[in-house]
Structures are given as structure tokens and as C-alpha cells.
């Protein structure tokens, strides 16, 4: 990348970027606080992480205009780690996540995204929305009807205000109004506020070394978490970057983004934050508000920290109801509602892949597992569909002693048995010609199936000719095939 291009990515759109960054910062606070609480740590862990990640990724990311910070998808993976081993293990896990992501970037694993089908992406996005939504539900616990009323009022403001004006961020108005109401009516004695949830940052983040023994045991504890975190972080980041690519009609550097996510997580870890990644909802808000450049992400991070440090006392007065309302909005905006409508229209297999991705994720709380299930299933479906592209016709010669089989399509492990069953070995023939000029042999199973067919015919005393094998298939046959080698006998399988 040239320095001029990098400069443009920062400063081509400064005014809008800063305004958009401000709007986004307001949407970052609820997620950082809410999911810190879910992960079982103080809100400041999420807030420091959001600041560090947003600021660092602005410099080193591969997708200008995308927002990264502490996210729900990552936080739900951390619950077990924090519960069983404590906060001190969270920070090294975050750093290890970053290291793994940098390795992924160096190995260009971003290219593996091509194996994630559209249906899996939709499933991922929907599962993410459901996770964000479900994570809000514990907040209603023991809070009574008042909580429902406050959240409903908050949602009313968030969705009602843009109909009147789009000049002010409605989540901000929601937060301000609900905080004012809660403070003036003294509701904070019954309703939870942010201050009740743990300590907020009062200073800039400070550099600290993780307070854990650097030994194999520690690694054993954090590695499984770090692997999951790295995968989920990269998946969400790369999916979000594709979405932002579409919005802005520009390209992004996926492998640079992997490395960038890694660097920002390492920095977050050393400054006492938890692992994060790109955020779909907040990135949409950013683009919607006019943010396009690296400056928007940077501004979001910086403004977030200013808001928290300078107005910490006020922030601690914010009723949780206001944040819950904002997060419900984010989850609604993240969910792909058209995918429900499309269930009827789309092919059944696509819908199954999507639903399996969602269900696996929601049940395991691990987006990596959901995506794994989705990718596996969509590959199986694909293999099955391709296997049906096999066609075998045959024609008896006039002499009635010879038959020509014409094979066309793809031969591989899935279609091998179909292939073998298509031949009639009971027919008494002097010779059989198998024309495979329209067929391609992909793997051992396919060659093996051909072997068996040829050898079976030979045992019946039928001579077999194979014609038209293409070069790639031929190479494979030469390596592993048996029928054309001397003394060929059918192996027992």
C-alpha cells in the first residue's frame, strides 16, 4: 500500500468521520458494558478493550470505516475462563488470541473465508443477533415491571425519534432521557444502574504485564479459549468487512485485517482489556452516519474514552434499562430479517445450513462451532449435488457382443458407488468400451471404482477398453490404478 493511499484512507472524509465516530462511540458503550458484565468482569475491562482495539485497528486494520471493539460474540466465549480461572487469565488469553490472529494473517488464512457460504454467513449474523438479544434477558431478572416499562420507553425513543429527526443520535437521546427520568424520580434505588455493575475507568488505560505464571499449565488453560476467540474474532471481522465492502463499493485487504485484529487484541491485552473484534451493528451505524475512513474508527475509540473518563459519574448513573434498549436495537439491526422470508424461497439445503448454524451457535454459545457445523453441512450438500452430475448411458453394438458405456460428469467418493452400480455385469459380452471423455476422476475412490468395474468385467471374460480419459484423471490412474497393471486382481474390500 502506498503512503498516499493510506493518507487518503485517513483523511479523505474528516468531518463526517468524526461525527460518525461520535455516533458510533455511543453505541459502543452499551455493548462494552453489557458484555463485560456477562463475561463476569468490571465494565472497565470492556471499555478499555473497546478503546484500545478501536484506536489500534484504525492504524493497522485492512478495512477503513469498519468498527472493532469489545464484542458480545467474544465475551460469551470468555464466561467459562473468567468463572473458572479468574480475570488474570483473561488478559494472557487475549494476548494469545492476538498472536494466533497475526499468524492467521501471515498464513493468509483470510482466503479460507471463501469456504463460508452465504447461508452460513446469514446463520452467523442471525445467531449473533440472538446471542446479543439473549444476553440482555438476565438484566430483567428481579427488576419488576418498571424495567420492562423503561426498556419499552427506550426503544420507543430509539425507533420513534428518527421519524422526527435524523440529526441527533437517538440512542444518545434514549440514554439521556432515561438517565434523567431515573435520577429525578429516584428510580436508581430499585433499578440497576451501570455503577451497580462494577467499576468504571477513571484514568487512561495503563500498561500492565499479565499476572500469571508463564508456564505450560497456563498455556493449557488459555489455549482452547484463545483458539475459539481467534476464530470467532476473525470470522466476525471478515464477514463485517465484506458487508462494509458492499456498502462502500471498495475493496479491503482481508489478510491485513487478520493481522490488524491480532495486533489490536495484543495491545488490548496489555492494557487490561478483553479480546474483541469487528462489530456488524456498529459498523452499519458508522456507514449510515457517513463514516468511511480510518479516522471514524479512531474517533469512535477516542470519544468513547473521553466520555467514560470525563463523565464517569454520570455514566455510572445510566440505568441498565437504557443500555438494554440500545443493545436490543443492535440485535434487531444485526438480524437478517429477510432470511426468514427467504426460508420459503431459497433452496431447502441453504435454509437447513442457515438454521443449523444458528442452532449450533445458540446452543453452544460459540460462533466458531456454529460456523464449523454450517461449513461442514454446506460442503456435504455441495458434494451430494455435484455427485448427481454423473450420467452413464450405454449402447449395444449391432453385433450384440459389444457394448459402449458413456460416462459423463464428476467421479469422486460420493458418486463412486453410483458409478459402480450403473454397469450390468450379467450381460454376456465379448468387449466393453467405457468412454470417459466427458468424465473427470477426482480421487482414489473414483479410480478404485473404475478398477473394480474393469476387473469385474475381465473376470466375466469381457475385454475392456477405456477411452478418452483426460490428462488429470490419467495421472491419477497411473499413480494408483490397478486394472492396467499386470496380474491385476480385485482386492477384497
Amino acid at each position: 500500500m502506498t503512503d498516499t493511499k493510506y493518507f487518503q484512507e485517513w483523511f479523505s472524509n474528516p468531518r463526517r468521520d468524526i461525527i460518525a465516530g461520535t455516533v458510533v462511540a455511543l453505541a459502543l458503550i452499551p455493548e462494552a458494558i453489557a458484555f463485560s458484565i456477562i463475561a463476569g468482569v468490571d465494565p472497565k475491562v470492556g471499555l478499555y478493550a473497546s478503546f484500545c482495539i478501536a484506536v489500534v485497528i484504525a492504524f493497522v486494520g485492512g478495512r477503513p470505516g469498519m468498527i472493532s471493539a469489545a464484542t458480545g460474540a467474544m465475551a460469551v466465549l470468555l464466561v467459562g475462563l473468567v468463572r473458572d480461572h479468574g480475570l488474570e487469565y483473561l488478559l494472557p488469553a487475549t494476548i494469545l488470541t492476538g498472536i494466533l490472529q497475526i499468524i492467521a494473517g501471515a498464513l493468509k488464512l483470510g482466503n479460507l473465508m471463501r469456504f463460508v457460504s452465504r447461508s452460513v454467513v446469514t446463520g452467523f449474523v442471525n445467531a449473533l443477533a440472538i446471542i446479543i438479544f439473549m444476553a440482555q434477558l438476565p438484566q430483567f431478572h428481579d427488576q419488576g415491571l418498571l424495567m420492562y416499562g423503561m426498556v419499552a420507553a427506550g426503544l420507543g425513543i430509539i425507533y420513534g425519534l428518527p421519524r422526527v429527526t435524523t440529526a441527533v443520535p437517538s440512542p444518545l437521546v434514549c440514554i439521556i432521557v432515561l438517565t434523567a427520568v431515573s435520577m429525578s424520580l429516584g428510580l436508581d434505588s430499585t433499578l440497576n444502574t451501570v455503577g451497580d455493575m462494577g467499576s468504571l475507568p477513571s484514568t487512561l488505560p495503563i500498561f500492565l504485564m499479565p499476572d500469571v505464571p508463564l508456564n505450560l499449565e497456563t498455556l493449557q488453560i488459555i489455549l482452547p479459549y484463545a483458539v475459539s476467540l481467534a476464530i470467532v474474532g476473525l470470522l466476525e471481522s471478515l464477514m463485517t468487512s465484506t458487508i462494509v465492502d458492499d456498502f462502500t463499493d471498495t475493496e479491503s485487504n482481508k489478510n491485513l485485517e487478520c493481522t490488524g485484529q491480532g495486533i489490536s487484541n495484543i495491545v488490548a491485552g496489555f492494557f487490561g482489556g478483553m479480546a474483541g473484534c469487528a462489530m456488524i451493528g456498529q459498523s452499519v451505524i458508522n456507514v449510515q452516519s457517513g463514516g468511511r475512513g480510518r479516522l471514524s474508527t479512531f474517533a469512535a475509540g477516542v470519544i468513547l474514552l473521553i466520555l467514560i473518563v470525563v463523565m464517569g459519574d454520570l455514566v455510572s448513573q445510566i440505568p441498565m434499562a437504557a443500555l438494554v434498549a440500545v443493545m436490543i436495537m443492535v440485535s434487531i439491526g444485526t438480524f437478517s430479517w429477510s432470511s426468514i422470508k427467504n426460508l420459503k424461497v431459497h433452496h431447502l439445503t441453504s435454509s437447513i445450513v442457515m438454521i443449523v448454524t444458528v442452532l449450533t451457535t445458540v446452543l453452544t454459545h460459540n460462533l466458531a462451532k456454529g460456523v464449523g457445523a454450517g461449513v461442514l453441512l454446506s460442503s456435504l450438500f455441495f458434494a451430494y449435488k455435484v455427485s448427481r452430475l454423473l450420467k452413464i448411458d450405454s449402447e449395444l453394438e449391432v453385433s450384440k457382443t459389444a457394448r459402449t458405456y458413456k460416462v459423463s460428469g464428476q467421479l469422486f467418493f460420493v458418486s463412486a458407488s453410483t458409478f459402480a452400480e450403473a454397469f450390468d455385469f450379467r450381460e454376456v459380452l465379448e468387449s466393453v468400451t467405457i468412454d470417459v471423455s466427458e468424465a473427470h476422476f477426482w480421487d482414489l475412490s473414483a479410480i478404485n471404482a473404475l478398477d473394480r468395474v474393469v476387473l469385474k468385467f475381465r473376470r466375466e471374460g469381457t475385454e475392456v477398453n477405456i477411452v478418452g480419459m483426460n490428462e488429470a484423471s490419467q495421472t491419477l490412474v497411473l499413480q494408483v490404478g490397478k486394472y492396467d497393471k499386470e496380474g491385476a486382481e480385485l482386492e477384497s474390500h
Binding site: 440529526a167 452499519v284 452516519s289
Partner: protein, 285 residues
């Protein structure tokens, strides 16, 4: 057949670019002129003004549709405008007596794509400043430096208005690119039959003297009438002064000879020259 690539953006420099291209075409024995207009990517400046920060049902699809619709409208306008620019280019080129020309518009940024189009051309003509000429005075056209850096062929930077050219000055520093300039001029018909000044600014030494002598003999052999000038002082000021005094119509110089790091510290003589001098500049890499 030689080919001249004329880059236009419909700014006030456009006519001058066509006229310079027509002049070069004539000098190069009727070279064909390819006019290139780049439609800049429009999405750098967002068009929405929704700061509500609220995400409704189906927010992503809705936003994408909105953006596509807005940009489609703008892009169509830009396309129409681009076509008008090219129509104007055809008209002007005909007026200036060019018969062999092609006009073309492409999506993208000139500075990023120029290499591809420049490869098949023998000479590139570009305006000194681009579309933002009036409020960017003092700065070079945003594209110019990057375009020049990407070009392997000579670049003729058109001044605001074309004036007939009788004489040119070569700002000679003995460097590779100024020697390349001398060789090109001697071997090509572009500047044939114009008076030539070889100008050196600053301290001379024996190495430079011999380079100058060699340049002089190369040019004289090619049939140029050559005069050598030594001046001391800041290259930028001196060259400007020579141009103003000497009724010189074209400045020839090597472009961006120094390292990027040096440019960051002392600035680029090339950029400074193109910026201040009032006549067209022919640059060699």
C-alpha cells in the same frame, strides 16, 4: 504510429491539454491522440446524513439499497458529464487540426490507473492542476505528482493556456534523468527546430562540465542550436528567472530524481518548479 495520451478532467486546463496534445501530435508527425477521462470513485464522499445511529428491521439491506440508489443517480450524472467532456475534447481536437484521435472514459483514479494506459503511449499530456484548480492554488493537482511518478514515458505538463513554442530550456544537473532528456530530445522529432538552452544551476565541477559538453554535442549533432548557461543560486528561483527573462516557452527537466526521504525533508524541486513556473514543463523520469 506514435501515440499521445491526453488526460483530461474537464477543468479549465482541459482546452490547454488538448492544444498541447495537438501541438505534440503535429510535431511527432501526426501521432494519434488518446483522450482519457477518469470517472473518480464517487463513494468517498458519503451522501447520507443520517446521524440517528438507530438500526431498524433489515437495517443492512435497507442501507445498502439506499446507498446504491443515491450513488447510481450521481454516477449517471457523472457519466453524462464525462461524455460531455469527451465531446468537447473531440470538438477542440478537430479545431486544433488533429484527425487521428480516440476518446475514452474509465472508472477509477488517474493516479492509480495511469500506469496501465501509459504503457502503450509515447507521450503523456496532463494539466498542471485538476478540477479543484481554484481552491487548491499553491498545491499541485492532486494527481499530478503521482501520475508523473508512475510514468515511464515523458510527461508534458500543460500550462493554463497554450502559447506557440519557439525555444526550450533544459534544466541540466548531470543526473540520469536529465541525460535521458537530452537523448530523447536529440532522437525524437518533438522539439526539433526549436532553440535550445542548456541551463545548469549551482557549483560546477569537471564531471559536470564533461556531461554538459557531451549533452551539447549530442544536441548539436541532432541539429539543435544550443546555448549553455551557468547560474548560481537556488534552482527554483534561478530557473524561474531565466524563464521570465529569456522568453523561453518550454521547460525540460528530469523528474523526482531524489529519494523519498530527501523529498520529505527538503521538498521536491520538481513539484516546486511545476508549481511556480508559468510555462509548460516536459518531464523525464
Amino acid at each position: 504510429m506514435a501515440k499521445i495520451l491526453a488526460c483530461t478532467d474537464g477543468s479549465i486546463y482541459a482546452t490547454s491539454v488538448y492544444e498541447h496534445a495537438a501541438w505534440a501530435s503535429k510535431k511527432m508527425g501526426g501521432a494519434s491522440v488518446h483522450v482519457l477521462h477518469m470517472l473518480n470513485p464517487h463513494h468517498e464522499e458519503p451522501l447520507t446524513s443520517d446521524f440517528s445511529g438507530s438500526l431498524g428491521f433489515g437495517a443492512r439491506t435497507a442501507l445498502l439499497e439506499e446507498l446504491v440508489e443515491l450513488e447510481a443517480v450521481n454516477a449517471r450524472v457523472a457519466q453524462k458529464r464525462g461524455q460531455a467532456i469527451l465531446d468537447d475534447a473531440e470538438l477542440k481536437l478537430k479545431q486544433f487540426g488533429v484527425t487521428d484521435f480516440v476518446t475514452n472514459q474509465k472508472h477509477g483514479k488517474l493516479s492509480e490507473e495511469i500506469e496501465e494506459y501509459e504503457r502503450s503511449a509515447d507521450l503523456v499530456v496532463i494539466g498542471k492542476r485538476g478540477n479543484n484548480a481554484n481552491f487548491e492554488t499553491g498545491h499541485l493537482g492532486s494527481n499530478l505528482e503521482r501520475v508523473i511518478r508512475s510514468c515511464q514515458h515523458p510527461v508534458l505538463v500543460a500550462s493554463r493556456a497554450f502559447a506557440s513554442m519557439q525555444s526550450f530550456v533544459i534544466a541540466f544537473d548531470g543526473g540520469a534523468s536529465s541525460q535521458k532528456a537530452v537523448e530523447y530530445i536529440a532522437a525524437h522529432p518533438l522539439l526539433q527546430s526549436m532553440r535550445c538552452y542548456l541551463l545548469h544551476v549551482g557549483q560546477g565541477n569537471s564531471e559536470l562540465e564533461s556531461a554538459l559538453a557531451k549533452a551539447e554535442s549530442t544536441l548539436t549533432e541532432a541539429g539543435f542550436e544550443v546555448a549553455i548557461e551557468h547560474r548560481s543560486g537556488e534552482p527554483e528561483e534561478v530557473i524561474n528567472k531565466v524563464v521570465e527573462d529569456g522568453k523561453i516557452d518550454l521547460l525540460v527537466m528530469g523528474a523526482y530524481g531524489h529519494s523519498k526521504i530527501r523529498r520529505l525533508i527538503v521538498g521536491s524541486t520538481t513539484s516546486a518548479m511545476i508549481r511556480t513556473v508559468q510555462i509548460p514543463v516536459l518531464l523525464f523520469r
